[in-house]
Amino acid sequence: MLGIFRAFVWMRVRVLVNSLERTGSRDTLERFSVAVEKLGPIVALVVLIPSALVLFVLGIATGFALAQSTSTITLTIVRYFLLLVLVLTIFGPMMLPIRDSGGLVRYLLLPIPRFSLYLAQMTGGLADPWVLLVIPVVVLGIPIGLAVGLSFLAAAIALVAGLAFLLLLTGITSLASSVIHLLLRDRRRGDLVMLVVIFLLPMISILPQLMTPSTDRAPDGRKLTRAERRAQPPSPTARAALRLAPYVPSEMYRRTAGASVASPAGAAIPLAELAGVAFLVQAAAFVAYRRVLDMPVSLSMRRAGSFGGLWDRIVPGLSPAASAVALTQLRLALRTPRGRAAMVTPLLMPVFFGVVLMRRGNFSIPGIEGEQGLALAAIGAFTSMLALLPIAMNQFAVDRAGFTRQMLSPISIRELLLGKAVGNAMIAALPASLAFVLSLAIYRSSHPLLWLGLIFAVVAAYALLAPVAAALSAVFPKTVDMNSIGNNSNAHQAAMLLGMLSSVASAVIPVGLTFVTLAILHRVELLPWLLLGWAAIAIGLSYLLFIPVRRLVESRCETLAQYY
């Protein structure tokens, strides 16, 4: 058994070291790109060490305070930290890439018992940084602090509770990974699950807003004072949360640690509950892992609709080759969870802001009071551009081996860039248009020309963003898995950061023109024409910017064809 663990540890360390050492880069630009990519994990590792030290000290202080029965403010901090860790442990595996089933197949070929494989996988969960950070607090810090305060029995109880909590976390990680693997093993079902997750995660932040009645206003519409708001009874959501709280594992740990000094016997009940939950989760995780091992790879096949020959059509204004590139880019978005996320999540932001607007009812844009619909449509358009970034900022590498197909085809770089720009525009245009139409349908507008102005503003912003996106995609390519919705499907972090800044910069002039026209000149009727003029200038600038970008992409094609 020890030999197996040693082999697994060696393999993980070797994989990590090799990923840092052997870049296989071909030129200086690629070496720079790879170095920037590695910078994130290295910085995270560097930050992890002081964080662990701080948490260790926090643990000792908490343990000592508990032993002395003095202030428990540190225990409150630990309580919320553990709750946060618990949430990250549950949602973390959803955001991480799907585990390599090829690795599982290889393990199955080795003479390793399934239970040992499970233990190796389960202990692998300790490598998640949030789980790792729990150790200095609950396994080391608090028991040491209690022991220093001469509460040895309490220290032993806290140590057992800490280990049980850690066992629970690794069990949850293992269970969540296996369940996700089982759900995604069938690719059709996997796509559906990912789509639900895409909706579910943002809705978690919106739902309480939707379900809880407003506490800001009295029934007569008068705004409540702070004291009046505090005097109100808790909402049904808050009451439900209070009822569930004792059953949350982090609360079980807090109760155990809290009672360990004053009443060791009283600590036995929450400790037994915590240990019981940890055992049940581990048992469920083992059963799920066995199911994964029974059939680690997908056998299903997905079919795609022809949409009445839509994909065979040529986008007006484009050459057949550029059109084929554009429609292929759109299909990539429609057929991958990450692509769908780019098209669905922008709709949630206007919904969220719409709910907030309805509940507060006091939002207005200076100069065009009562045009909340326009503001929502603008938010929808801007978030559509932001949601596009993971695809647009890695527009060549997202094709994986398909990029080589394009390089082997009689497509000029100009056609390739044009096709990509139009394809990305179509991806962003779908949610932006929907947000636009819905906002227009829900809210009345007394300035129809302003809506036209918004279209001009969005066109201008995208025209400037498109060449920047192509350039950043060429300089910072990254191999991605668009089936994942976490970091594994994100563009290169440097490209994402610069892309986000570029998106904001591209909106500065339209926003500035809007501000000057409405707030200073008070000439609403001028705005659409000014924005139309700016859109024309932006398209001209975009054309000029694409000239050096074309040369850049041409010089980088050889490297880009390796990202699959």
């Binding site: 079919r303 065979d312 057949p320 059109s323 990539l332 081996a401 009689p410 050889e558």
Partner: protein, 260 residues
Amino acid sequence: MLTYNPPCMEFAVETHGLARTFGAKRAVDGIDLRVPAGSFYGFLGPNGAGKSTTIKCLTGLLRPSSGSMRILELDPVTAAVEIKRRVGVVPEDLALFDRLTAAETLSFVGQVHGMAPETFKARSADLLSLMDLTSASTTLVADFSHGMKKKLSLAASLLPAPRLLFLDEPFEGIDAVASRQIKELLHSFVARGGTVFLTSHILEIVERLSTHIGVIADGKMVAQGSIEEIRSGAHGHGTLEELFIELVGGERAAADFDWL
């Protein structure tokens, strides 16, 4: 406007001192290829000899470090897109979009070649039928087996009716029935004046199909010509396998592990 006149063409592929280096490693070391137009050219070499790198240079996926090339009498530097119109490639990685179906992949190829929809649809149906992929035509490529992907990549290379085919290990992972049909198809392609440039480790196939052979080892050409010419040059009268081993210096003592 570039002109193209196949009947006068002597070599479909011609290189002079073609080289490609990766850092200190010379993957392709100044090779002079002569692939006669209308020939079936088998390009052989041991693993890591530089076959795939050579194909990547010839198909424009890699820039040569030095040397010159002419493909179908056109210069790849000035007429890259024009060459791609006339050349079909099955590369090492198969170059397929994961999220397109088989039919859509062929439609993509047809569109970028500027073919009329009815033409590429009719040809797609023929090719999918030949490759036994008709029932999987609406399945995403991501769900294909390796053999199915290889057949689809081959279909994609044939769809625009190229004059020159670069095939990197086209028969690896393909079932016997499809393999036989593909061989017949390639034979008739060459008979109609097309040129095939093929790499394969299956020497029996190369011996049966090829009219000409080039052998590369450590990035250098060690032999080139018709099979008969190479046989006479290498003093060998045996099979292609024996000839190949003689050329690349692969004679080693048979392994005898007493622990096995």
